[in-house]
Amino acid sequence: MHETSIVNSIMRTLEQEFEIEKLNRLKAIHLKVGILSNIEPRLLHNAYSAYHITNPGYHHVEMHIESTSLKIHCEFCDYITDVEKYRFICNQCGKPSKNVIQGEEMLIHKVEFED
């Protein structure tokens, strides 16, 4: 259900951002989703396929999903840590941090149009 909501939200957002004439030339949508976004790429692809049943106009538009890993930036020592096992703790100075710089994204990163 969650993925269905997200696909609807993506398509609604694109329809608000771009003119119909341009959307008719839409070729591909590139998403960037972080590991913390609770979006499972495989399920999102399935939800997108299901979306085409009721919205056949977009059936030729590809969806590409890039997953990003989790990184935090330490405010104290400036170090960037790859978070493992959801320990939000700086690997250099050992201080905890909530300053997530990558891994929370849910972005429509890029869109491609036919000429």
């Binding site: 957002t13 951002e17 070729k27 998403l31 609770n38 939000f88 905890p96």
Partner: protein, 221 residues
């Protein structure tokens, strides 16, 4: 071929509505709290107990999201406060739009504290900002103490974790210490309180926390 870098948030539509709710709440000075948890961890019972304790001191109301039925709203109304059911019809979380649609059914100017009792689910509700001031997540002792690392986003985005059904601690293999350690590894700013709506352990602290936040909100309005 043309290519445009957009970097638009997938939940832009939701966040836009969440901001509207936030502004409305700030104008009216109403504290908005989003209550999340797994299904069956005691959210509605906590709402009933909170209403019982606070209804003579403040005006409180609840909107409650479920896939089906009015049961939770009925239970909360029995305590004498206004409660409104949002039936999501199968959707596993509340979105800002659903909250905004029913907001005009409340006389916000006279309400000090509005709870949103979210759909019982530790996954999807974590992604949707509802314009709340605070997110409070219940973690029942009957669920097992391994949840914060299994559902990190919810605990990362919460302000407080209530370890609920604390009266059952002598009977279940649940370590408050372990759950607190895991939750704080995810979110070191998370406040943790042990609570039981049945034995009333922690209920006074919970109510004091709410009253302090209500005062803060009024002072800033």
């Amino acid at each position: 071929m043309q290519c445009e870098n957009t970097n638009i948030n997938l939940l832009k539509a939701n966040d836009f509505v969440a901001d509207i709710i936030k502004k409305e709440m700030a104008n009216k000075g109403t504290l908005l709290i989003n209550i999340t948890s797994s299904a069956g961890s005691g959210k509605t019972t906590l709402m009933q107990k909170t209403a019982e304790k606070l209804k003579d001191k403040i005006t409180m109301a609840v909107m409650v999201g479920d896939l089906e039925t009015e049961r939770d709203a009925d239970r909360i109304r029995e305590t004498g406060i206004q409660a409104l059911q949002i039936v999501t019809g199968g959707i596993c979380h509340l979105e800002a739009q659903m909250v905004h649609q029913v907001l005009d059914q409340f006389d916000l100017a006279s309400i000090d504290l509005l709870f949103i009792e979210n759909v019982g689910n530790l996954v999807c509700p974590s992604s949707f900002d509802l314009g709340e001031d605070y997110r409070v997540t219940l973690m029942a002792t009957t669920e097992g103490d391994d949840k914060p690392k299994k559902y990190p986003k919810m605990f990362l985005t919460s302000d407080m974790m209530l370890v609920s059904k604390a009266d059952l601690l002598p009977y279940v293999p649940f370590s408050v210490e372990a759950v607190t350690k895991d939750a704080r590894e995810v979110n070191h700013e998370l406040e943790v309180l042990q609570i039981s709506a049945l034995s009333e352990e922690g209920v006074d602290e919970w109510c004091e926390w709410l009253l302090a936040k209500i005062k803060q909100k009024k002072d800033n309005a």
